[in-house]
Symmetry: C2
Subunit: 247 residues, 2 copies
C-alpha cells in the first residue's frame, strides 16, 4: 500500500501539488522517500489521488498528480463524538481511535467532573494537537476524510448545539438511567447527524444527566461492568455502528 499524505489544497483537476511543513518532513525525513516514489494524497474531505514525487528538497516536495482513486467508504450520516476531556494523554488515543472508527467530528467538552478548564485547554493548544492526531490517524487507517476537532465547550453548550439531532449519552450502569437497549436493526437515516456523548473519569453529575434528558438525549448503557473512561468511546462506537448496520 503506498504511503498517504494530507494535502488540504488538493483539487480534482490540478496536475501538480507541493507538500510542505509536517507532511514534507514526514515524506523526506521519516519515510525517506525521494524522486520517483509513488504515493497518495488526500484532501481530508474525501478526495484522494495518486501522485509521484518529482523533487524532494528541504521541507518542500513537488508532486505530479495522477488519477483519482476511490477513497475508503464513509458513513452515510454525520457522527460527532462529544467527549469529555480526560486526564493526561488519554484524549490522544480517543481522537486517534475515533478517527479510525469513522467519526466525522470530535467535540471535546468540559464537564462538572473534568479536571481541566476550557482556558487551560486553549492555552495548551490542545485542539491543534488533537487535530494533528486526527490527520495522522486518517493517514494510517486510509480514510480520505479527516474529522474536524472543534474547540472545547461546556456540556450545556454542546447539548444546545446538537438539539434536534439524535443525541446518545453513554452512561455507567451505576447511573441507573439506561434508556431502551441498543438494537441491531436501528437505522440512522442518510444525511442525519448523530451526537454520541462520552463522560469523564468520574462520570456525569446528576445535574448533567437531567440537563441531557431535558435536551432530548437518549441514555445508553453498554453491559453491566464499569468501563474505563478511556475505553468507553472505543467500545461504544463499534457497537453502535454494528447495530446500525455500518460495521
Amino acid at each position: 500500500m503506498p504511503p498517504r499524505f494530507h494535502a488540504p489544497h488538493l483539487t480534482v483537476d490540478a496536475d501538480q501539488l507541493t507538500l510542505d511543513g509536517e507532511e514534507a518532513r514526514h515524506l523526506t525525513r521519516v519515510l525517506r522517500l525521494g524522486a520517483g516514489a509513488e504515493l497518495r494524497v488526500f484532501d481530508g474531505r474525501g478526495l484522494e489521488r495518486e501522485a509521484v514525487v518529482e523533487a524532494a528538497g528541504r521541507g518542500v516536495v513537488a508532486l505530479r498528480l495522477g488519477r483519482r482513486v476511490n477513497a475508503a467508504r464513509e458513513l452515510p450520516f454525520a457522527l460527532t463524538l462529544v467527549q469529555a476531556v480526560l486526564k493526561g494523554d488519554a484524549m490522544d488515543g480517543i481522537v486517534r481511535d475515533a478517527t479510525m472508527l469513522g467519526v466525522t467530528a470530535i467535540q471535546p467538552i468540559v464537564t462538572d467532573r473534568s479536571e481541566l478548564s476550557i482556558a487551560t485547554l486553549e492555552r495548551r493548544d490542545r485542539r491543534e494537537r488533537w487535530q494533528r492526531i486526527a490527520i495522522s490517524s486518517a493517514k494510517q487507517c486510509r480514510r480520505a476524510v479527516v474529522p474536524a476537532v472543534v474547540s472545547a465547550r461546556g456540556l450545556a453548550d454542546a447539548l444546545e448545539r446538537s438539539r434536534g439531532s439524535t443525541m446518545l449519552m453513554l452512561t455507567e450502569p451505576s447511573a441507573g438511567v439506561a434508556g431502551p437497549p441498543v438494537c441491531a436493526g436501528d437505522r440512522i437515516p442518510a444525511g442525519a447527524h448523530v451526537f454520541v456523548f462520552a463522560g469523564p473519569e468520574g462520570g456525569w453529575s446528576e445535574q448533567e444527566i437531567s440537563q441531557a434528558a431535558q435536551a432530548g438525549a437518549r441514555f445508553v448503557t453498554l453491559g453491566d461492568r464499569t468501563l474505563r473512561a478511556e475505553a468507553v468511546a472505543l467500545i461504544a462506537l463499534p457497537v453502535l455502528l454494528f447495530a446500525w448496520g455500518e460495521l
Copy 2:
C-alpha cells in the same frame, strides 16, 4: 463503592482472612486504609464477600469476613482471547481491557510476524506481569472472576488446543478472507467455549490463514478500514458480545 481486594484463598464459610503481599500493600500504602475500613474480597473464581479490616500491619492485613455478595454477572460460556503478542507495552492494555470486557482466559501467542519469541517472553516473566494486570483490572471493573493468562505458545499449538470449539479469527479487510458477517442473533450455547484470535501488527501470514482455515476457524472482518493491532480486540470483543446478546 467499597474497594475490592483479590484473595485467592477466600472461602464461602471462613470468618477471617489474612491479606499479604501486593494486596496488603495496596490496602495500607496506596489506599491508606486501617482498622474498621469496609471492603470486599473476591477469590478470582466468582466468590465475593464483604469484609472489615481488623488490623493492618506491615505487609499483613487481618480481615473479618461478612456476608457473600452477588458478584458481577459473567458470560454463560467460556471466552478465550488468543492474542498475538504486540510490541512494547501494548499487551498490557489489551489484557486490562479484555478483562474488563469479560473474557475468561487470555492466550498470548507468537506468530510468523511477531517480533518476540516464546523464550524471550518467558525470560522476561511477561505471563506473570499480564496476570497481575488482569487481577488489577478485575478489581477495578468489579468482576469477581480473574481471567487466567496462560503461557505463550505458537499459533499452530493454540489452534490445535481449540479444535472442536468455536474459533473466530479476526482478519484485516486486505487479507480478503472474510467469512460470513457477524450477525446479531447469533447465539453461543451456554457452556460452550469460544476462541477469538487477534493478530500481530503485520497481520497473519498466508500460511497462518490457511492453517486456521484447516483447523476450522471462521474468519471475521470488522468494517473496511485498517484497524490498529492494539485496538482490534477492544473493538471486536464488544461487537461480538453485542451480536451474541451478551452486552
